[in-house]
């Protein structure tokens, strides 16, 4: 898999920490591989919305990659609950179902961005970079830092 310039957190130059939420083990593995190619670190995984909420509270990740269609509790409801308790949460929806109502609902509940499966690594990289810079809190590309 293509390797990207590592994304690091501006505040401490450490790898960006991710929580990956998807009911498919295969999808989680695939996303984890992409995240690692961005220089990121997986700090938690969840297969449903309930576990995602608990994992967020435990791991306090910089980014959550969240599926929508999952058993027990779907992604959009999990986003609502996580953002209610942690308004700073940066959640990117990753779903094969990308119709407008779904995207709108996710954004209204507090998701920062949406990417449709199958996920292209270049697209996800740019989205994560954008989301991390969005509120001026964190990341930048390490290579850019070196040139400054």
């Amino acid at each position: 898999m293509k390797q990207f310039e590592p994304l690091t957190r501006k505040k401490d130059n450490q790898p960006v920490r991710y929580l990956v939420v998807d009911d498919s083990v295969f999808a989680r593995k695939s996303l984890a591989k992409m995240v690692e190619s961005f220089g990121g670190q997986i700090v938690g995984e969840a297969g449903d919305g309930y576990t995602a909420i608990a994992e967020y509270a435990r791991a306090k990740p910089d980014i959550v990659l969240m599926d929508i269609t999952m058993p027990q509790m779907e992604g959009i409801e999990a986003v609502e609950r996580i953002v209610r308790d942690h308004p700073e949460a940066r959640i990117v929806m990753v779903s094969s179902v990308g119709y407008q109502d779904n995207i709108l609902a996710a954004l209204q509940k507090g998701a920062r961005h949406f990417v449709q499966k199958p996920v292209k690594p270049d697209a996800l990289y740019e989205i994560i970079r954008y989301v991390l810079q969005d509120d001026g809190v964190t990341a930048t590309v390490a290579a850019e830092e070196k040139t400054r």
């Binding site: 898999m1 009911d23 498919s24 083990v25 295969f26 999808a27 593995k29 695939s30 591989k33 269609t69 999952m70 058993p71 779903s95 094969s96 179902v97 990308g98 119709y99 407008q100 109502d101 449709q116 499966k117 199958p118 292209k120």
Partner: protein, 166 residues
């Protein structure tokens, strides 16, 4: 089944296979199956509910499924590995999700259910006996079938009411 419902699945399967297999895929057959679903390789099913109801089954040659799983995991996997059926499940999710997105944008409202791996026992138990359209795609690693069975919800309700009256 109306072609306007089938077309998004053809485009979606083509796009997902191209992205996930990095190999060319071409549609080689489109048939109707009236005698119920018979599993051919590794299969996963995704159901949907709403204005259109039904299910779609993605059925792949084990070698093709193992190829995708190997490509994405970065290690050589045999079709017997447990992650391989899981791969078919996620591919089904992508194909159906993308097709449903197109249909939804055209005004059809429905909800997709989580995908399920289909074992031989589940096929037997569930009795997938409804009429279905089968799309067959050929790839360098084997054949991929998409078995589509769906109908407009209003028609199903009407037919059920007719049965209960008579």
């Amino acid at each position: 089944m109306r072609m306007e419902l089938i077309q998004p699945f053809i485009g979606s399967l083509d796009a997902v296979l191209a992205e996930m297999m990095k190999e060319p895929a071409k549609i080689v057959d489109l048939t109707m199956e009236e005698e119920g679903y018979r599993r051919k390789g590794l299969a996963a099913s995704v159901g949907f509910r709403g204005q259109i109801e039904g299910r779609v089954i993605l059925d792949m040659d084990p070698a093709a499924a193992a190829h995708v799983a190997s490509y994405l995991s970065g290690e050589e996997l045999s079709p017997a590995e447990s992650i391989v059926p899981e791969t078919v499940c996620e591919l089904a999710n992508m194909v159906i999700g993308n097709a449903v997105t197109q249909l939804n944008d055209r005004g059809f409202q429905f909800k997709v259910l989580p995908p399920e791996v289909l074992t031989a026992e589940q096929v037997e138990k569930a009795g997938f006996d409804s009429e279905a359209t089968i799309l067959s795609f050929e790839t360098p690693k084997g054949t991929v079938h998409l078995n589509i069975s769906m109908e407009y919800h209003s028609r199903r309700v009407r037919e059920n009411s007719t049965v209960s009256v008579s």
